[in-house]
Amino acid sequence: MPGPEQVAAAIEVLDPGALTTVQDTGRPGWAHLGVPRAGALDEPALRLANRLVGNQEAAAGLETTLTGAVVRLTRATSFAVTGARCDVHVDGRAVGWGATHAVRPGAEVRVGPAHEGVRTYVAVAGGIDLPSVLGSRSADLLSGLGPAPLRVGDLLPLGPPRRARHGSEAVPHPPRGILRIRLGPRADWFTTAALEALDGATYTVSAESNRIGLRLAGPVVARARDEELPTEGMVLGAVQVPPSGQPIVFLNDHPTTGGYPVVAVVVAEDLPVCAQARPGSSLTLRVVR
């Protein structure tokens, strides 16, 4: 057996849960070639996890989905868990969420199912050091760029740690069930009544939601114009309305262009609300200027 100094620093995936992907802050800047931005859906949570372990904020970590994940850390290192709150165990011992933990070589880190929210982030000192594609290590589930969703036995190399940092910082309260939106760019494609009703309307988060879009079920957003919209560029947080009238909020893996009118765009600060909205939960829209 090799000694610990010969074992490469890595994350070994023991159980990826429902869906665990590698995410950093994505690959903006390539939309003109049809390349989605990808990146952590709850970006402030990933940045916080990275700060807690002394990484650059944009370093690559893990994004789990609802059910958590189990990994082994091959070398002595430190890690932090943020985003959706969950139980965290190291070698069977409960440790705190939202704090930095030092671990021995070979430690098993168990990230439990989310108590609230959807996506939990795990940052490990040094960050995940897979080859980057177009400047990012993020998995893009629409185009397939970047590392595939993780499977049992995957080994993710870690970069050199920057500096030791142990401690914690104030972690944000879980986002509430309110989503602020700004009308436009195609609000004029909808009836005045539909636009007025949008402010305060409550929708249920559909189980069909994923990293591409948050699908909402509730009051129909009625169109005032019937013609087809020529395909146009789409932004993160665009609230697109297909013919069903049931809105879809475009999340990080969204297509770069789309052919349905965008009634509004989510306020950037509220994107984590979308990232953490559980299927079956309610979201109330608030129109802001």
């Binding site: 003109h32 049809g34 185009s143 146009e232 560029g233 932004v235 665009a238 765009v265």
Partner: protein, 204 residues
């Protein structure tokens, strides 16, 4: 130019037609660094500016610009030539839609100067314009579940090359061995917006 607000950090410039989109994109692309814009995304009738640092200033600047006429000389363009083997399963269907022989489909495809108007659908998938409206091609009634990478295709007023294998409803007239999408290359897409494209019969 008419400009629409898109949330806090983006603007949408409206254009009269694809020619104006291509001209507007060329002008904005030249000034992208100065405008401090992360993404410029041309599409069918619009150019999206996303990741705009100073939305108010850029909006004011754009609103003060005249529409960019499509017939203006956009300056030197990247030019690529793509050798095609015209063996596509839908070559006969396109000939039928155009009421010509298959050889005439090849002649039209190889003598038209195309320009990449925009990308979308998949990384590196280019929408190339140049066909006259009268030669718009209807899509297949049943999309294929898998179209091979390198398939040369037509749909509507557009020509394209599938950059990777994917489902698709375009009519396939041939194939090329030239990769149009290589994420590790610079630029990663052979057919960037604004590129002039000529298809050549690889069999001649």
């Amino acid at each position: 130019m008419q400009v629409r607000r898109v949330g806090e950090r983006a603007l949408l410039v409206e254009c009269a037609d694809l020619g104006e989109v291509t001209a507007t994109y060329a002008v904005l692309r030249d000034r992208q660094a100065e405008l401090a814009v992360t993404d410029l995304v041309p599409a069918a009738r619009t150019v999206l500016l996303d990741g705009v640092v100073d939305v108010e200033s850029v909006a004011a600047l754009l609103e003060g610009l005249p529409p960019q006429a499509g017939d203006l000389d956009p300056g030197p363009r990247r030019m690529v030539e793509i050798p095609v083997t015209y063996d596509g399963p839908d070559l006969a269907e396109v000939a039928r839609q155009w009421s010509v022989e298959e050889a005439e489909v090849v002649r039209i495809h190889t003598t038209t100067e195309f320009v990449v108007a925009f990308c979308g659908f998949a990384p590196g998938f280019a929408y190339c314009t140049g066909l006259p409206d009268a030669l718009a091609v209807r899509r297949r009634a049943e999309p294929r579940s898998r179209v091979p990478a390198g398939s040369v295709a037509l749909a509507g007023e557009f020509a394209s090359v599938y950059p990777s294998a994917s489902p698709g409803g375009w009519q396939l007239i041939g194939s090329t061995a030239i990769p149009v999408w290589r994420p590790e290359a610079e630029p990663p897409a052979l057919l960037e917006p604004g590129t002039t494209v000529r298809f050549r019969d690889a069999g001649t």
